[in-house]
């Protein structure tokens, strides 16, 4: 099974071979490194940019206007905050120009905590991302979704912000991509060797068609006792807790992995809440002005009388940063035990 970084790499390879991607760039994105998480290793069109996030987004926007389908990387989402205005330009250009200019570009960037990243390798970005109106925002939690969403992001005529959960980039999923070779074979084919890489070239496996539609959530675990809406790093944790609860006979929890934050799949979310009457929104960004709070507000607006118990949020604590010392990080950022507790309370709340 591919890990998420490999899956993204394979999708980008498909992008440069078949979908018209001619520029894949960012800090350390090109050879020899191929990205700090190896997501751009071995690609033909990847190159190293100057250390300048504003220039990176600006270049992507210009390339999109020139008819390209660029894929630009910001090395960590923690370092995107000097270029929010540029992201806004990407997001609003189509609307500002009265529909005259489309902006087919992908900005990908690692997001979230879980790698002992301290204050500047642990940031989440959902709140700002979901306010860049005009921008589509996706965030996969499995390698297959990572592949499928990248294909759709590249094909999109809208700008797409592609959030890669840092903690999941090296994890493997349960689904195989069509035609995907086994783990060892894949490794030998597409992972760069240690040491000198100047003569190395990857051998790309032939994969079947696969994509994941932007705007469509996934029910990663069906259930009717309660609904958990999540994405990114928290998605596999929620899935794992739901499986254990089921195995232990403690309740069947429906886990919705949003996959797309904008435009989000309200149909899937509201259908599930209608069924269960109980809902918990889980993400790892801080709890003040959190995207999950928008979903709670909408739930209250539209489904107040479908709710059996009050809707809940599990999110990060509103400290000025995420601390390095592991017990501090685990305290600030939601962990498995927090999900267990929150789902437990949700199920136990008398209707």
């Amino acid at each position: 099974m591919a890990n998420m970084a490999q899956a993204i790499r394979m999708a980008l390879h498909h992008g440069e071979q078949k979908l018209g991607v001619t520029e894949i760039f960012g800090e350390d994105v090109g050879p020899p490194l191929g990205g700090v998480f190896t997501a751009t290793q071995g690609l033909e069109r990847s190159w190293n940019s100057p250390l300048d996030e504003r220039g990176i987004i600006g270049a992507a926007l210009g390339l999109a206007w020139a008819g390209g389908r660029p894929v630009a990387e910001v090395q960590f989402v923690d370092y995107i905050f000097n270029a929010i205005d540029m992201l806004k330009l990407a997001a609003n250009g189509h609307w500002a120009s009265g529909g005259k200019y489309k902006t087919p570009m992908v900005v990908m960037t690692p997001t979230g905590s879980g790698i002992h990243g301290s204050m500047y390798h642990s940031h989440s970005f959902d709140s700002v991302a979901t306010k860049l109106h005009g921008m589509k925002v996706v965030c996969p939690s499995t390698p297959a979704d990572a592949y499928g969403l990248m294909i759709s992001a590249i094909k999109s005529d809208d700008p797409v912000l592609y959030l890669k959960p840092k903690a999941l980039l090296r994890t493997r999923g349960e689904e195989l991509l069509p035609g995907e070779p086994d783990e060892k074979t894949l490794h030998d084919m597409i992972d760069a060797p240690l040491g000198d890489r100047t003569k190395w070239k990857p051998k790309w496996p032939k994969l079947g068609e696969y994509s994941v539609e932007i705007g469509k959530a996934k029910i990663s675990h069906p259930g009717s006792a309660a609904t958990v809406v999540t994405h990114g790093r928290m998605a596999p944790i929620c899935l794992d807790v739901a499986r254990r609860l089921k195995a232990d006979g403690k309740g069947e929890v429906e886990v919705i992995d949003m996959r797309t934050l904008i435009p989000y799949d309200w149909e899937a979310i509201s259908a599930s809440i209608k069924k269960t009457g109980r809902v918990l929104f889980v993400n790892e960004e801080t709890e003040i002005t959190n995207f999950g709070e928008h979903l709670i507000r909408r739930t209250v607006d539209e489904m107040f009388y479908d709710l059996k118990v009050r809707p809940r949020l599990l999110a990060g604590k509103a400290t000025p940063g995420i601390a390095l010392s592991p017990n501090l990080e685990y305290f600030i950022q939601p962990q498995t035990a927090d999900v267990e507790r929150a789902i437990g309370e949700l199920l136990a709340d008398p209707a």
Binding site: T22, D52, A59, W65, H94, W95, G98, G99, D265
Partner: protein, 354 residues
């Protein structure tokens, strides 16, 4: 390679001799330029009037820059796609757009923010163009960001087999922003130099802030001194011929060498910053007056004929303005158009709350 030291050209060219630069450029070209300058000027003056008369709100524009902007527009390889020049402009670029063939009526439409505004559907300020047919990318009110986006079209053209280039245009004060730095750095990368004409129009002001209080460099073009491969030049942008010749040289250099060129043009700001500062006429050198003097004194045009240009352009503008006044404002639901290229999903929140 052109001189690295900024050259201050003089507005007072000696009118005699066959080497006279006006005569060299020739009456036909100069009269074409003159007409476009007059059209642009009258357009801006009309926009100001509309702003003051409640026929629209905020005004910002480029009266005073016509002697540089019209020649710039006439140097553009106009069209769509990487084999044509790209333009990353700002809110004072109207004369460039007019030189390319922009219709004055469309600017009036954007000023009045009527439904027919072809540049933004009544959404953006006047003089914020977006014309894909001519590679004019969307103008944003955010100072200097065009210098960052110019990198992208520059890269596309550096890769393509073409002589087309990217032009970016902005003001002196804005050069303090990091985007100016980004443009310089990316345009001069050894592995992929970019064919960008980096223009700074220096009118001596950023709103109310005087150039000389903020700039430690002698000329903004001196930023070129950092890069051995990038020429830098300062010219008198109030003079048509200085502008024309400098643009000739710069365009030719970039088209051929596929490398950047930094050009600073000193221009007047004839109506102050914007309607916020009153938009009244300022006693600075007027490039059209200057051109007319140069034309008449050389016998390249008659004063009468020049006056007729003004009258004809004014009449056309009157008619256009009358028409725009009849046009409807955009319907409120139109704000949901163009949010996404593939349409608004049915469940997108549109109520503005509960």
């Amino acid at each position: 390679m052109p001189a690295k030291t900024p050259v201050k050209s003089s507005a007072k060219a000696a009118p005699a001799a066959s080497s006279d630069p006006y005569k060299k450029l020739g009456a036909a070209r100069l009269l074409e330029i003159h007409e476009l300058m007059v059209r642009s000027r009258l357009l801006e003056e009309r926009l100001i009037k509309m702003s003051k008369g409640g026929d629209g709100f905020f005004w910002i524009g480029g009266p005073g820059e016509e002697a540089f902007n019209v020649p710039l527009g006439l140097h553009v390889k106009k069209g769509h796609g990487v084999n044509h020049d790209f333009l990353h402009l700002h809110y004072r670029s109207s004369a460039i757009v007019q030189a390319l063939g922009g219709k004055p009526i469309d600017a009036l439409r954007q000023m009045r923010s009527v439904a027919t505004d072809p540049y933004s559907k009544g959404r953006n300020f006047v003089n914020h163009y977006a014309i894909p047919e001519w590679n004019i990318v969307p103008i944003s009110p955010t100072i200097e960001t065009q210098y960052s986006t110019s990198i992208g079209t520059g890269i596309a053209q550096a890769r393509a087999k073409t002589d087309a280039i990217t032009i970016v245009n902005g003001g002196d004060a804005g050069s303090a922003e990091g985007d100016f730095h980004s443009c310089l750095v990316w345009a001069n990368r050894p592995v992929l130099p970019l064919p960008i004409l980096i223009v700074v129009v220096n009118n001596g002001w950023g709103i109310s802030t005087k150039e000389e209080t903020q700039h430690g460099e002698r000329h903004i073009a001196d930023w070129a001194k950092v890069f051995p491969d990038m020429p830098g030049k300062t010219i008198d942008g109030n003079d048509v011929v200085s502008s024309w010749n400098a643009l000739d040289e710069a365009f030719a250099f970039i088209r051929k060498n596929r490398k950047p060129y930094l050009l600073e043009a000193r221009c007047s700001r004839l109506y102050g910053h914007s309607s916020s500062s009153g938009a009244n006429r300022i006693p600075e050198a007027d490039c059209i007056e200057l051109l007319e003097k140069n034309l008449v004194s050389r016998g390249l045009a008659k004063a009468d004929a020049l006056k007729k240009v003004w009258a004809a352009e004014a009449a056309a503008l009157d008619a256009a303005h009358q028409q725009v006044k009849q046009e409807p404002f955009p319907a409120v639901e139109t704000v949901w158009q163009d949010v996404f290229a593939d349409g608004l999903p049915p469940s997108y929140p549109t109520k503005g709350g509960s």
